[in-house]
Amino acid sequence: MDNFLASAISFGVIFLFGCVGEILTEKSGHLNLGIPGIMCVGAAGGCFGVRIAMSGSDPSGVLVVITGILFALLFAGALGAVYAFLTVSLRSNQNVTGLACTIFGAGFTSFFINSVVMQNGADSLLAKAGQQFFGAHIPGAGDLGWFGTIFLSHGVRVYLAIVIAVVAAVVLRYTKVGLNLRAIGESPATADAVGINVTGYKYTFIVGGAAIAGLGGLCYVMGYMNGVVGSTVDQTIQGIGWLSIALVIFTLWKPALAILGSIVFGMLYILSSRITGISFVQIQLLNLVPYVVTILVLIVTSIVGHRETQPPASLGLSYFREDR
């Protein structure tokens, strides 16, 4: 049970990165359906960075982790910037642009990982980095019983995810920046009239959100999979990405709730591989559970329909100052 919870947290942070990134994007009034592709690209960039950092004779663990994270941020941020440019500056349809990002990102990742990163024995290097550096946890965590196993046995990525989620929650709720951002998401015209730099905020939070989501992809490959990169990794991350977007609704656009929600999703996602003694058919049934739960939550929140649980009012609409 302890191990199950620990795995759930370890998997859940992948959702958490994606979810917090998407919340920040949606708070600026942009529904980024490109998150699955952006997470893929983050994984590709992260693997590339780790590959570079591991190529020396005696790579330092801290350096490898930092390079991986930086490259994941950079690659994912770049695709996020393409999305931001198309939807903010060129005012394109957000759904269509997002889907294009997902198609492009998944294709790019599959090509980049298989043809560029995984050459000349990179798989053993990545596996070594995944196990030794990304999996490194506080020494002696296993001796502290259930508490150590569940909360302290994780690599740095888990704590990074939680810190980012908490910071995002505080910024959104208690700072002027967060207030401005929420104002833009509700009514960009009003925010513009107050003198808030709408375009600047939108760019910052779309690119920033995409970069955070990209860490989720890195987290899946180097963290949960311990650096084992399968050839269909883009398909798996894409599935996780769609669930992260669903998690945004599940957690009612609140990053703090997202910490809990992502652990629940992590449990549901790994459930089928952790329960022993069931048939293949039952495994397939368990695989359905996270998606069915998401649908149920969608239905329940829409029926209850509190004002606090609704998406930002201008979500999905392009803002053109002269349209008023």
């Binding site: 359906l33 393409v82 440019f85 500056s89 060129l90 349809n93 090509f111 397939q284 359905l288």
Partner: protein, 418 residues
């Protein structure tokens, strides 16, 4: 006179542009995306291949042999049907992102009929059940989100997205149910296949093309000439207006999505009943998403969508040939090129709808800012605008530090303009 600081770039809406100019801008965007892909691919190819070989391979992959041409037609027909199914919902501003799931459910229902009834009942009867079951399954998968949208205003895009995965795992479930010890792949079923015209590839493809032609004609007339089509557009424009006009909005939403899902189910029927004779979890080939791009790029017009879906399939079939001839092992290169085309196509819409004015400080003083609306006739700046769009997007596609580059690209274009 006091000088007011003018922003460098000023954007205003254009007057509606003549059709041929819009087409030129779109065509230019696609050409530039293709040229970028060609340069990139021919430079990074492990083999000695030049820039123009890219286009040669592209065409030979799509049209090189009779077989390839028929496959291209078949894929076009299928993609077109999915896109047409989606466009009905999009006209109503219902974001049906569940095309994949609806197609898969059609596949599954068809395969179930073949598996459970094939060989036991006469083939004709089984075919009848297959048709009914596939269409019903597709419709069911679309109507569930529609009901909740109609009654509780549940977010339909996420609902339909999740339904994709439910459908995918249901297919996986039935495959494991039918081969409990198997590898997850299913053997083709030889009973109860849909009729073909003769045995060759042409005879197999023609019925599918015929179905696509009928569906296109039907959807075109449905949206254009029928009362239902008018109601769909009205609900899309404004639900309140529709309600005021006495339209039962809930009924329209549900009825439209039944049609949308049914056409997707029909595609599933064709995929299983007449092409593959088995079902797999990836059989939808992501057509639900590609169909959205086709519908949007075709401006939600069924006739333009015919051309777009042909073009997209031309690209993806051609690209697989390019991958082979240029020595790339990964077929994913095709997705990159198609994705690039999408970005350019999406981006160039901006230059059709909006006009960009630049306010430069000339030597000696301020230039009077040009705030006049451009009528699009006497201004030679239209084509440079298109070129500038591409310069800016070029920068954004290649480099990560996008905003700065985009501005740089725009300034350059403006200099040429001025």
């Amino acid at each position: 006179m006091e000088r007011v600081k003018q922003p460098l770039i000023h954007i205003s809406k254009r007057a509606p542009m003549p059709l041929w100019k819009g087409l030129c801008i779109r065509f230019g965007a696609v050409v530039i995306a293709l040229v970028i892909s060609a340069v990139f691919i021919s430079l990074s190819s492990p083999r000695e291949k030049g820039f123009f070989d890219f286009f040669g391979s592209l065409f030979s992959g799509a049209f090189g042999t009779e077989r390839r041409f028929w496959l291209l037609l078949q894929d076009t027909a299928l993609l077109l049907c999915v896109a047409l199914a989606l466009v009905v919902a999009f006209r109503m501003r219902f974001w049906n992102l569940g095309g994949n799931g609806q197609v898969l459910m059609g596949c599954l229902a068809c395969a179930m009929c073949m598996h459970y009834m094939g060989g036991k009942l006469p083939d004709g009867l089984v075919c009848f059940f297959m048709i009914v079951a596939s269409i019903a399954a597709g419709a069911l998968w679309a109507v569930i989100p529609a009901i909740f949208k109609a009654f509780f205003n549940t977010n339909e895009s996420l609902f339909t997205l999740m339904m994709n995965y439910v459908a995918m795992y249901l297919v996986a479930l039935f495959i494991t149910l039918w081969n409990p010890m198997g590898t997850g792949a299913m053997a083709p079923i030889s009973d109860a296949n849909l009729p073909t015209f003769g045995s060759g590839i042409a005879g197999k493809t023609l019925p599918i093309v015929l179905v696509a032609v009928i569906v296109t004609a039907f959807i075109y007339c449905y949206l254009r000439f029928s009362k239902h089509g008018y109601e769909v557009s009205l609900v899309g424009e404004s639900k309140n207006t529709a309600r005021y006009a006495g339209i039962n909005v809930k009924k329209v939403i549900i009825r439209t999505l039944v049609l949308s899902g049914a056409v997707c189910g029909l595609v599933g029927l064709l995929l299983v009943g007449s092409i593959n004779h088995m079902v797999s979890t990836t059989m939808d080939d992501n057509m639900g998403f590609t169909g959205i791009m086709v519908a949007w790029m075709g401006k939600f017009d069924p006739l333009i969508m015919v051309g777009i879906s042909f073009f997209i399939n031309f690209l993806s079939r051609g690209m697989s040939q390019v991958c082979t001839e240029f020595g790339f092992t990964s077929e994913a290169l095709s997705d990159i090129v198609v994705g690039l085309i999408y970005f350019f196509f999406i981006g160039c819409e901006f230059f059709i709808v909006y006009k960009v004015h630049f306010n430069f400080r000339k030597r000696g003083g301020w230039e009077e800012p040009d705030f006049t609306m451009d009528d699009g006739e006497d201004e030679p700046g239209n084509t440079p605008d298109g070129g500038m769009a591409d310069a800016a997007k070029d920068a954004c596609a290649d480099r990560p530090d996008l905003p700065a580059d985009a501005d740089g690209g725009q300034t350059e274009g403006g200099n040429i303009d001025g």
